[in-house]
Amino acid sequence: MIRIERLNKSFGKLHVLKDVNLEFENSKVTAIIGPNGSGKTTLIKIILGLMKADSGKILVNNINIKKGVDYKNNIGNMPQIARFPENLRVGELIDMMKDLRSKKNGVDKDLFASFKLDNEINKKLGTLSGGTKQRVNAALAFLFNPDILILDEPTAGLDPISSSALKDKILKEQKKGKTILITSHILSDIEELAENLVFILEGKIIYNGTVKLLIEEKGKSNLERTIASLMESNANEHNA
């Protein structure tokens, strides 16, 4: 579980996150969406400790993240862009991650099997195709069976087979009671995976609730049209 209280972040004069309050519950997939530059990535990076918030606090499994780096043992992260050291082999990268993390929840190699990565173990990371790198990236996020998964554009760059395998895995982990955060521009993926939805616009939370309810409220046929109307109505408010 992740709880975010009154989080603020600015880059110079640009106020990127404005008093954000959020809670990501266990055994729920929550999608974070918003246009480019809305603050999604900043929010994720602050949770991961890559950026530091100006004010506010974040609790991961009830532990304040300012108290040290150990909370990251509970988080599996799949960054949007995967660039690994070119001259390391896939197997060595896995060993490295194993060396750096506690393995209290054991090791989960499901995705390595369903992505057929076992044949690539001895290949250097620099020689892998973009799609294979992305599969390695996804498999690493799930490798330590973490309680929390943060997936930034997980299906981007994956072929349909891998993409479905990944989505199956996400739903499987959700049923096990994990907290899962996803950002994506592919709204059909979100409709398929996510129960909850957080919509961020210019650093403010515009909507925080279930996907179903939002679609019903707006009376549209699917998520894409719902989000479009949500963005339009906010743009109108701005002009008014």
Partner: protein, 263 residues
């Protein structure tokens, strides 16, 4: 095994297999071996290596270091999302970069000396000083590379600053010094010259080496003053201390930036 050593272990494996490190090693090896073949005397080889070391190590280290830091940016972010303290990660990244560069240098010039040997026993300390000051320069310029790459988000700008720093220290600084001493040639400049020389790591390494080569006589009266100063225990201590400062200070500033930075 502690976390820093683990990071070093894997980064070392990555960097040491990089083709640029292999080319660097191969080039140094071929140059040293070639000079043994052509000149035949180890004293001449040592003297020619001096200039290569002073010019080549800084430019290779700073440009490779900067390029490596920028290209491993995403992976650094990935490591930051793991349970590793930032300080530890920084030390790991720094050492993982400086060590393979030092190893490539030591093996590149060292291997030919292993089977050719030195002509006289007295040249042995010269070889040791050559190796040590080369390693010191590698660490100095790795520190600067890390610092520069953390201070600028733009890769091209970072590399530009790196090359400028090298150009300034290796070429411009000496030129300015020469010009200054020419303008002020009527004044006793030896002591200020010592002070100014100490401020440049490449000059420091050069002085350390030249004194060992016993060619300071070529520098006339200034050489004699330098020899008197740097040849003594105080001068040796001061110059190696300054080289250490050149390693530590940029490295500490870099660490400070790294620990506070938003990635």
């Amino acid at each position: 095994m502690n976390t820093m050593l683990k990071i070093i272990k894997y980064e070392l494996r990555d960097v040491i297999r990089s083709k640029w490190i292999l080319i660097y090693f191969g080039f140094l090896f071929l140059i040293t071996e070639g000079m043994f073949q052509f000149s035949g005397s180890s004293s001449k080889v040592l003297l020619s290596l001096l200039n290569i070391v002073l010019i080549l190590i800084p430019i290779i280290t700073i440009s490779y270091g900067i390029i490596y830091m920028y290209s491993s940016r995403e992976f650094t972010e990935m490591l930051l999302a793991q349970p590793i303290k930032r300080k530890t990660l920084f030390s790991g990244l720094y050492s993982g970069l400086a060590l393979p560069l030092s190893i490539a240098y030591l093996f590149g010039i060292g291997i030919p000396f292993i089977y050719h040997g030195v002509d006289e026993v007295s040249q042995f300390p010269v070889l040791i000083i050559l190796m040590l000051s080369g390693v010191a320069l590698t660490f100095v310029f790795t520190s600067l590379a890390v610092l520069i790459s953390l201070s600028s988000e733009d890769k091209v700008k970072g590399l530009g600053i790196g090359i400028f720093v090298w150009l300034f220290m290796a070429v411009v600084y000496d030129g300015a010094l020469l010009f200054g001493s020419y303008l002020l040639s009527e004044y006793p400049l030896e002591k200020p010259m010592i002070a100014v020389t100490i401020l440049n790591p490449i000059d420091l390494a050069r002085i350390l080496l030249m004194l060992k080569f016993d060619i300071s006589a070529l520098m006339g009266y200034t050489g004699a003053v330098f020899k008197k100063f740097f040849g003594g225990p105080l001068g040796m201590l001061l110059s190696s201390g300054m080289l250490m400062l050149w390693i530590i200070i940029p490295c500490l500033i870099g660490k400070r930036i790294f620990v506070r930075k938003d990635f």
